[in-house]
């Protein structure tokens, strides 16, 4: 094909590669040499490229050379080959095979049509047609690729080019089958970042807060002798001895005993992963294993139960008994509950992906598209995995229960489930680097058999061990990113890049089956990590919609319904020009972000320039301008960072007190400043030392800003003070309306009508300094005081009965029951005066008005959805103490074994309480459903003496 023999000319290839950096900028002209993605930066991805005219200046080469990577060598070539494109028809050109890729360049088009496919992607090579075949383009080679496309090249029968190409392809597409090395070991590209240092197991465990009192880190498996498919470093229950671990390993399939995957930073609920127990038909038991599972359960003090998530359908789990495997029986594992997740095995998945390929390539069945998608069941499988992960997340996050996940061997479905669950639970994993950690950790180190599942460099295309397990995982991640577009730091392109290099064999990351093998082959030294490439070009992979401040924090609960899932056409159908991606909103946001930074820069420059000029300037006008613009900058922070969504509001129809006072303050400051400016102007006309004054003015304004913030701080403190004063003044009903801000007086009248808002909430909002008029804002803190106002002679009772008028509530993560509502005893004849009691903290706590002996009674009715008990505590917290210093004065527990039942639990206690003690109910179990309607749950207090 080429005029020269490239196969030995590594010099030429090197020289062309040295230009890569430059060429990447000139990508679109076709004539420019473009090489592999991976070695070039593409930071201009979403921006127009400016068509720089960099071309290769190598006069000796007549045809454009095949662009080569470092270490890449041309192995064979053929001219007069026709590429049969299913979309644009046959294209004639020359074909080159290197030890990394297949490179086709058309000769009859301008700019040339170029096809550049890494050989790692090839799954099967077939000859089309024989010596007898007639007709155009019927004789040639067909490549069936792992990335859902087929490539067909037609050769001329006369020049016998096919055999050479076919042989070379066979050799280099399947090097392992031909006793050769993978290309990753020859690829030597230097990147500024070293991806191999990205994941440090111990550091990652430390990030999660390990070791702690119940979990320890062990290097028992340092030589991979206990379990050859596990990593060297484990986190295991601290109570388990090394000896026990060995016994447990022997009871689990392939020695993959339960090891920690993730621990909840607050509740200490854990996700552990393992393989199936070796129960067998006879139902063997292992006391060590049972004890070990109990240890995992005990490590989480919050829960009395452990969920074992078996990813398989129950039928498969039973069938596995015949092979010596099986599942944990409920008899043996007393406190564990076994759940089957119904995710099918690798063979089903492989078949499903094959169907996906059928409907996506080469043609799309237009009319029956949706039904065709459904018939592949691919989305259904995705849904199963997602819903399984959501279930795990729900257990860990909402129920504080530890979860153990396994399937048969614990390296396919288990990895999918744990990895996605981690992604949903921990915002760290949603960052660019965090996601790399999750792949390194859950997939690579825990021994997902990449080599087998993908078949790197192996020609057994029908190997039953191949399966798109990892692809499915990435697809699930994509589905979640689609549902939460601003929760992930990386973009779709990142996911596609990972998948592309999963097959390409360019990087060492996904090679081999286990950590042990990778160590043996010295992958870290011999090859380049994919993360080296990605972390050196992060610009391309960042999601411009990522908005850490808002969404990053919370736990994601994607909706696992087929109605919310979608086929990832940008990946599966990307070869098909008919299937058009949506206009990328993300790319647009990226444009906007860059535009914003540009404008910011520009504003700064101009401001500087202007300042410089003004400093030199002499006219009075310019000075007053300066004064104004300074004022403007002080008064309205026009932009701030995007994340907090608090860019200066324009609708000022809701004020709260603090902002109004801030406004007044600002206004007064401004006028002060303005007067100052005028004074200075006057001064400036008279004096020639203007420039000095200029500097002074700037200093002054700075000082004023400082003062302003200080005053705001003080205002805040004042507010706190006032709250405390309110507490002190609670008995004084009429005067309690207002003692704080002047502005509040205006709203005083409406306060009584508008209902009460407790103090706590209010102070929270005022802190937010929104310029909103909070119409419900109120200072009426003592909710009960009004009742006591006009009766003087009746006996006084200090008591209250609290209820809540809703059917159901779910207690939050804190378990504190809030929004109590005082229930009045009708003061029919004024014979009884109910004295002041206050509710605070979101109406959860009763504030004791005076020291004395109190009878406290409570009843909580809980909806027993699970076989659980209902327990709550009556707690008291003294004034000024933090919540951790609260003490339990009564506890009440009740249980039932009947499902769908209501468990009620009543308790009462008499107790000496100090003034300003707060009494509240706290549910011990988190997120319980309580029946709160009248008479079912209540809290009451009566002062005895």
């Amino acid at each position: 094909m080429e005029g020269r023999n490239h196969s030995s000319d590594s010099l030429a290839s090197n020289s062309s590669n040295s230009k890569l950096g430059r060429d990447s900028a000139s990508s679109s002209r076709g004539s420019a040499v473009k090489s592999l993605s991976s070695s070039t930066s593409a930071s201009n991805e979403y921006f127009p490229d400016f068509d720089s005219k960099v071309t290769i200046k190598e006069p000796s080469i007549v045809d454009s050379p095949t662009p080569l990577l470092t270490g890449e060598k041309i192995q064979g070539a053929a001219r007069d080959v026709t590429y049969l494109c299913p979309f644009i028809g046959p294209v004639r050109g020359a074909l080159t095979v290197t030890n990394y890729k297949i490179y086709f360049r058309s000769s009859d088009r301008e700019p040339p049509f170029i096809l550049d496919v890494p050989l790692g992607v090839v799954s099967r090579i077939e000859k089309m047609g024989g010596a007898s075949s007639r007709g155009e383009n019927s004789y040639g080679i067909e490549l069936i690729c792992k990335d859902l496309r087929n490539l067909r090249f037609a050769h001329k029968q006369e020049n016998h080019s096919r055999r050479n190409v076919f042989e070379k392809l066979q050799q280099h597409a399947f090097p392992l089958s031909h006793r050769m090395g993978l290309f990753a070991f020859e690829f030597k590209e230097e990147y500024p970042e070293n991806g191999w240092t990205m994941y440090e197991p111990v550091a990652e465990l430390k990030r999660q807060g390990l070791p702690n009192e119940s979990w320890r880190i062990t290097k028992l498996n340092e030589n991979y002798d206990i379990c050859d498919s596990y990593p060297a470093v484990w986190a295991v229950p601290a109570a388990a001895t090394d000896e026990e671990l060995r016994y447990v390993a022997s009871f689990r399939s392939r020695g993959r005993l339960p090891v920690l995957s993730w621990i909840h930073p607050e509740s200490q609920a854990t996700i552990t992963r393992c393989s199936q127990p070796l129960v067998g038909v006879s139902g063997k038991r292992s006391r060590d294993d049972e004890r070990y599972v109990q240890l995992i359960l005990d490590a989480n003090a919050q829960s009395h139960k452990l969920f074992i998530m078996d990813a398989r359908p129950s039928v498969n789990a039973v069938a596995n008994k015949a092979k010596g495997g099986g599942y944990e029986s409920e008899d043996a594992y007393q406190n564990a509950e076994l759940v089957f997740m119904d995710i099918h095995n690798i063979h089903v998945m492989r078949e499903s992906l094959r169907k996906i390929k059928e409907i996506c390539f080469p043609t799309v069945d237009d009319v029956h598209w949706l039904s065709a998608i459904e018939s592949t069941h691919w989305l259904e499988h995705i849904k199963c995995i997602l819903s399984g992960a959501v279930r795990i997340v729900d257990k860990v996050e909402n129920h504080r229960t530890s979860v153990m996940v396994h399937c048969s061997d614990g390296w396919d479905r288990t990895a999918q489930l744990t990895a996605i669950a981690l992604l949903l639970l921990d915002p760290y994993y949603r960052t660019l680097r965090g996601f790399q950690v999750i792949i390194e950790k859950e997939w690579l180190s825990f021994g997902h058999k990449f080599a087998q599942r993908i078949g790197h460099g192996d020609d057994r295309h029908s190997d039953a061990d191949r399966s798109p397990v990892f692809l499915q995982f990435i697809d699930c991640v994509w589905q979640v990113t689609r549902q939460f577009p601003s929760a992930f730091e990386f973009n779709e392109h990142f996911l596609i890049t990972i998948l592309d290099h999963l097959y390409s064999c360019l990087f060492g990351t996904f090679l081999f089956n286990t950590e042990q093998q990778r160590m043996k082959e010295d992958v870290k030294q011999q090859t380049v990590s994919l993360w080296s490439f990605i972390n050196s070009h992060t610009d391309e992979f960042i999601n411009p919609l990522y908005c850490a401040a808002y969404v990053e924090q919370h736990v994601l609960f994607p909706v696992a319904s087929l109605r919310q899932l979608r086929l990832w056409t940008n990946y599966y159908c990307r070869w098909n020009p008919r299937v058009r991606p949506q206009e990328p909103i993300a790319a647009r946001s990226r444009v906007l972000v860059s535009l914003r930074s540009h404008l910011q820069r520009r504003v700064q420059e101009l401001q500087k320039e202007l300042d410089a000029r003004l400093a030199r300037g002499t006219t009075a006008v310019s000075q007053s301008n300066e004064g104004r613009s300074t004022a403007a900058r002080v008064s309205s922070p026009i932009y701030r960072t995007i994340g907090d969504y608090e860019i200066g509001a324009k609708w000022q129809w809701k004020f709260n007190t603090s902002t109004i006072s801030t406004h007044l303050l600002t206004a007064s400051l401004l006028s002060l400043l303005f007067m100052f400016a005028i004074g200075l102007t006057f001064f400036g006309i008279q004096s020639s030392r203007l420039s000095q004054k200029q500097a002074e003015l700037t200093n002054l304004s700075l000082a004023i800003i400082q003062i302003q913030t200080e005053v705001q701080m003080e205002l805040k403190e004042l507010k706190n003070l006032r709250e405390e004063m309110n507490i002190a003044l609670y008995s004084n009903a009429d005067s309690s309306g207002d003692n704080g801000d002047i502005i509040n007086n205006r709203e005083k009248r409406s306060d009584y009508n508008k209902g009460s808002q407790n103090n706590n909430q209010r102070s929270k909002t005022s802190k937010k300094s929104k310029r909103k008029r909070d119409e419900n804002s109120t200072t009426n803190n003592d909710v009960l005081s009004k009742h006591s106002s006009n009766t003087k002679h009746a006996p006084k009772v200090t008591a209250v009965h609290l209820e809540r008028n809703v059917d159901f509530v779910t207690t939050g993560s804190s378990g504190i029951i809030n929004r109590w509502h005082p229930q009045y005893w009708a003061p029919a004849n004024n014979s009884l005066v109910v004295e002041n009691l206050k509710l605070e903290d979101n109406n959860s706590s009763l504030v004791i008005p005076s020291t004395g002996l109190y009878l406290i009674y409570a009843q909580v009715l809980c909806y027993a959805a699970t076989k659980d008990n209902n327990s709550y505590e009556v707690r008291v917290i003294s004034q000024g103490a933090t919540s951790s210093q609260s003490k339990i004065i009564a506890q009440c527990s009740a249980g039932t074994t009947i499902l769908d039942n209501d468990i009620t639990c009543y308790t009462s206690v008499a107790q000496m309480l100090q003034v300003n003690d707060r009494v509240y109910l706290q549910q011990i179990q988190k997120n319980r459903h309580l029946l709160m309607s009248m008479g079912r749950s209540f809290l009451g207090i009566v002062k005895l003496i």
């Binding site: 990508s27 679109s28 592999l36 991976s38 070039t40 593409a42 991805e45 921006f47 990577l69 299913p86 644009i88 294209v91 301008e110 509950e337 119904d342 009319v367 039904s371 259904e380 849904k383 729900d394 549902q483 939460f484 596609i496 390409s504 919609l545 401040a549 736990v555 994607p558 909706v559 696992a560 087929l562 919310q564 056409t569 299937v579 990328p584 909103i585 790319a587 444009v591 906007l592 535009l595 101009l606 000029r613 301008n625 403007a632 026009i638 609708w651 209902g755 009460s756 407790n758 059917d807 159901f808 509530v809 779910t810 929004r819 229930q823 009045y824 959805a865 499902l899 769908d900 008479g935």
Partner: protein, 924 residues
């Protein structure tokens, strides 16, 4: 806004409010909020309302009221207890259903469901009813605890009042709300003046005129008093001809392209008339009005589009099978895995895409072949409205603004007489003539908006809100069959009644309230959500490019339209393993140049490229080389060959069914156009230069000369985008927010007038930002998306809390706000500089606030820091607060099945039916 609903509200309620509702029957507080003119017809207390898609085990208790306007469910947990201002919708609150919205009522007995027929009355004891609404929502009420007998009253009242017999019984006649202030910025097309200005805007004055032959509706009852006809036609001719057409509707002009091709809607001839002479005369006049005297293309929609009944059936199927929360939760998840084929089976995607296809066809004919299009349909009031308005949306950027869109709906639907009464089933006798054509149209618009999120001024929320308002009978916009009835009812009630049915009835005069007066329904902050922040950037880019005369070479937009991985373009695929989007743009034209060998294609580098490439590529597989440039006169050749009764060429028959893009086989000419869709976007050779200059101020953006060909490229219509400082949509309290000022000149674009030392401060021309004069709408079935925000939002389990589009929307709003304020700062600084340079003593008029601002999260949820609000993914109006008890009172009643151990064994591959406590979303 609703953040401070006072849950604990003693001072107001007193003690008795907090008794269990069952115990007191006539609770003073549990009363619906009534609009002026609204009367309570029946009521029942202690009714249970179930959440949609639940197991119907728990409900909230409250009172059910039936009024002459709505069904209102009032409970202690509903928002009435709080501030009425907290309602997102001022007219209808969360638990209220407008009577006109009711489609079907079912009586539920266990698993069995029996339909209750309108007009009948029930005798038996009905425990539970389900009300299925036209907006896909379902409301289930149980009368289990209701005092005996009350349920009958209520159900009978619903049955009676939701299916009125006469149009005068609609609530808009009884409502005494003040009439809306006129929305000034949009055209209502109720008088000749609006039509005239529209004709002028479209530059069709030469060939077309406003005709007032229909004064007092003597010519046609369904046409407005003024409509537009060919200038060469006399009023008498029209009068004479109109008798031959169904509904007396002669051809009516709708819109004109800059190349003078027009869209005309025409009815078919009466079936008993065999003589087609009148039709030919009309068509001849249409032909004459074309500058090149080209024959129009006649699209016979009756024959190529699905029938109205089919569309209605498909609509119902879509609703019942996949979108409507009729089922209980178990059934819902059982059906979930089949949902895709159910959607497909409803054929709704098919109908939507066919409409888009047909619209694309009209666009091709007009912009490519430069022939006028006549849409012919039985009465030309139904599908022709869909197709015509879609085509206009595709071609005319003006209609992609809010005011433009509203004008479009007024023009094509309201005044040209879409029979809303019939199609929406407002009156019981028309029940089987229902057809959701307007909803179909809205769905199509949504598809377009989804494909081109930068090109519409309105957001998805706007469309959803419009969709919600369709059945609100406070407004008369979507209530009447024709302009005439609307006119008569509002002016001469008595006379009209006698004419209509001779019945005696109290004279009712309609107070006209337009749905376009959004402030009567929503608060300003919510109306702010109607705006698409990205559109303002699009405007700026358009303005900037226009003003700067940016050469085409710098303009990259195609890359986003074309798949990134066309093998033909993979020269930039970098090792075949990684897409590089930007590189494709450059090579598209190259590929096509080599593909077609047509040197001309290189010219279409600007906007035309985006169009051409999309169609060119789509056609590639089947028709490699057949493309070329199309013959402009192709449509003329068909003349005379058209068989049948007339010499006019018609397109009819099953166009679309088998092959994605093939045209009907006997219309070879058109199909070749279809394949080779090459769109040299209105180059100056297609219209005389004087026209360009004349229109330059009105609606043409000149994109400058192409460096090689010296041909000037123009974009039509971009002038409706305002230049930067004057883009005047403002949201202020007490002001109607939706205003688009059209009168500004380009010269007022300040940063442009005063370019900085670098020659341009705001690099809009460098932005990779598409500005479409025409939208290359994708119309294959693969491109169909379910409008989930609209259709699925009544299914609470499908709500992605804290996810979905809203965060993206607010993110973009904030971004754009930043950009706008920076821009105005920059502007200000420029002025300072300028003044400093000039040593001007005059006061500089510096305003520091940007001219426009979009709603941000903090505006939308005042009183709550952003992190405490978990937005529903479906509708930005619905916000999920930290306290679910407040805004979603009824949601609380669903105990989460996730925590129930009993469901674990049996769930199978059902997904988790999660109803999570929102507390868990928030970290403190």
């Amino acid at each position: 806004m609703s953040s401070f609903k006072t849950y604990v509200d003693i001072t107001e309620h007193g003690s008795e409010d907090y008794e269990w509702v069952i115990n007191d029957e006539d609770h003073p507080k549990l009363e619906p909020r009534l609009l002026p003119g609204e009367v309570v017809v029946a009521s029942a207390s202690n009714v249970l309302k179930f959440a949609s898609v639940s197991n119907r085990k728990h409900g909230i208790s409250g009172c059910l009221y039936v009024t002459n306007f709505k069904i209102a469910f009032v409970s202690t947990t509903s928002n009435y207890a709080g501030n009425p201002k907290d309602e997102r919708n001022k007219l209808l609150s969360q638990n209220e259903v407008c009577l006109a919205n009711i489609d079907q009522i079912y009586q539920v007995n266990g698993e069995r469901r029996k339909k209750l027929l309108p007009g009948t009355s029930i005798i038996t004891n009905v425990k539970t009813i389900q009300i299925v609404c036209k907006d896909f929502s379902v409301h289930s009420y149980s009368f289990k605890f209701c005092p005996v007998g009350f349920h009958k009253t209520v159900i009978n009242a619903i049955l009676h009042h939701s299916f009125p017999k006469r149009i005068e019984l609609l609530f808009c006649f009884e409502c005494t709300l003040p009439p809306t202030q006129t929305v000034h910025e949009m055209q209502f097309f109720t008088n000749g003046h609006d039509w005239e200005s529209e004709v002028e805007r479209c530059h069709c004055n030469e060939g077309w005129r406003v005709c007032s032959a229909n004064e007092n509706y003597q010519l046609s009852a369904s046409l407005p008093q003024a409509f537009v006809v060919p200038r060469s036609l006399s009023d008498n001719q029209i009068l004479k001809a109109s008798k031959h057409f169904m509904g007396n509707r002669p051809p009516v002009w709708c819109w004109g392209h800059i190349n003078k091709c027009v869209i005309v809607r025409m009815a078919v001839l009466h079936t008993f008339i065999t003589d087609t002479q009148q039709e030919s005369i009309m068509l001849e006049h249409v032909r004459k009005s074309h500058p090149n005297l080209r024959e129009p293309l006649i699209l016979e929609l009756d024959k190529s589009m699905p029938t109205l009944a089919e569309i209605h059936a498909s609509w119902c199927k879509l609703r019942d099978s996949s979108c409507c929360p009729l089922d209980n939760i178990q059934k819902f998840w059982e059906n979930d895995s089949r949902s895709l084929s159910l959607i497909n089976g409803s054929r709704w995607p098919h109908h939507v895409m066919i409409c888009l296809r047909m619209a694309n066809r009209v666009v091709e004919a007009i912009s490519q072949h430069q022939v006028s299009v006549v849409l012919q349909e039985t009465e030309s009031r139904d599908l022709s409205a869909v197709i015509s308005s879609l085509a206009q949306l595709i071609m005319d950027p003006h209609f992609r603004t809010i005011n433009g869109f509203q004008s479009l709906v007024q023009k094509e639907w309201v005044t040209l007489g879409h029979a809303f009464t019939k199609r929406f089933g407002r009156i019981s006798e028309y029940e089987n003539q229902q057809s959701p054509l307007f909803q179909l149209f809205l769905d199509c618009v949504w598809q377009m908006q989804h494909q081109f999120p930068m090109s519409f001024e309105f957001s998805e929320t706007y469309l959803t809100s419009l969709w919600d308002s369709l059945h609100n009978t406070v407004f008369d916009t979507f209530s009447f069959d024709s302009d005439r009835i609307r006119h008569l009812t509002s002016t001469q009630p008595q006379q009209q009644q006698q004419q209509q049915d001779g019945e005696q009835g109290s004279p009712v005069a309609l107070i006209s309230r337009s749905v376009w007066d959004w402030s009567s329904q929503f608060h300003d902050v919510d109306i702010g959500l109607f705006l698409n922040p990205l559109f303002s950037i699009t405007c700026r880019v358009a303005a900037y490019r226009q003003r700067k005369g940016i050469p085409a070479a710098n303009y990259h937009n195609v890359n986003n339209l074309v798949p990134r991985w066309i093998p033909g373009l993979s020269s930039h695929n970098d090792g075949g393993s990684r897409p590089r989007r930007n590189s494709i743009s450059g090579s598209i034209s190259a590929l096509r140049a080599t593909e077609y060998g047509a040197a001309e294609n290189k010219k279409t580098d600007t906007l035309g490229r985006s169009w051409g490439s999309r169609f060119g590529l789509a056609a590639l597989p089947e028709h490699g080389n057949s493309v070329g440039t199309l013959s402009r006169a192709s449509s003329n050749e068909g003349a005379g060959s058209g068989g049948g009764s007339s010499r006019w060429k018609r397109i009819r028959g099953a166009l679309f069914h088998s092959h994605g893009r093939s045209f009907s086989p006997h219309q070879q000419k058109i199909s070749s156009i279809e394949e080779g869709m090459e769109m040299p976007l209105m180059s100056s050779s297609h219209h005389d230069t004087s026209a360009v200059t004349y229109r330059a101020s009105r609606g043409i953006v000149d994109l400058g000369q192409h460096p090689q060909t010296q041909q000037r490229w123009t974009v039509y219509g971009a002038a409706v985008y305002d230049p930067i400082p004057s883009y005047p949509i403002k949201l202020e309290p007490n002001k109607k927010p939706l205003k688009l000022d059209l009168g500004k000149e380009w010269e007022e674009f300040k940063p442009g007038k005063d370019p900085g030392p670098d020659g341009g401060d705001i690099p809009y021309h460098e932005l990779d930002w598409p500005v479409y004069s025409m939208l290359p709408v994708a119309d294959s079935f693969v491109d169909f998306r379910l409008w989930s925000q609209c259709y699925l939002r009544w299914i609470p389990v499908l709500d992605v809390r804290g996810g979905g589009h809203p965060p993206v929307y607010f993110h973009q709003c904030a971004l754009v706000n930043d950009i706008l304020s920076l821009e105005s700062q920059l502007d200000k600084l420029h002025q300072c500089q300028l003044q400093h340079d000039l040593s001007n003593n005059g006061e500089a008029d510096i305003s520091s606030s940007p001219s426009q601002r979009f709603v941000t999260m903090s505006d939308h949820s005042p009183g709550q820091p952003g992190s405490q609000v978990t937005l529903s993914s479906f509708h930005p109006f619905v916000q999920q607060q930290n306290d679910s008890a407040l805004s979603f009172g009824e949601w609380e009643i669903v105990p989460s099945p996730v925590i129930s151990g009993s469901t674990f064994r049996s769930t199978g591959n059902r997904a988790v039916e999660a109803e999570f406590d929102s507390d868990s979303f928030v970290t403190d």
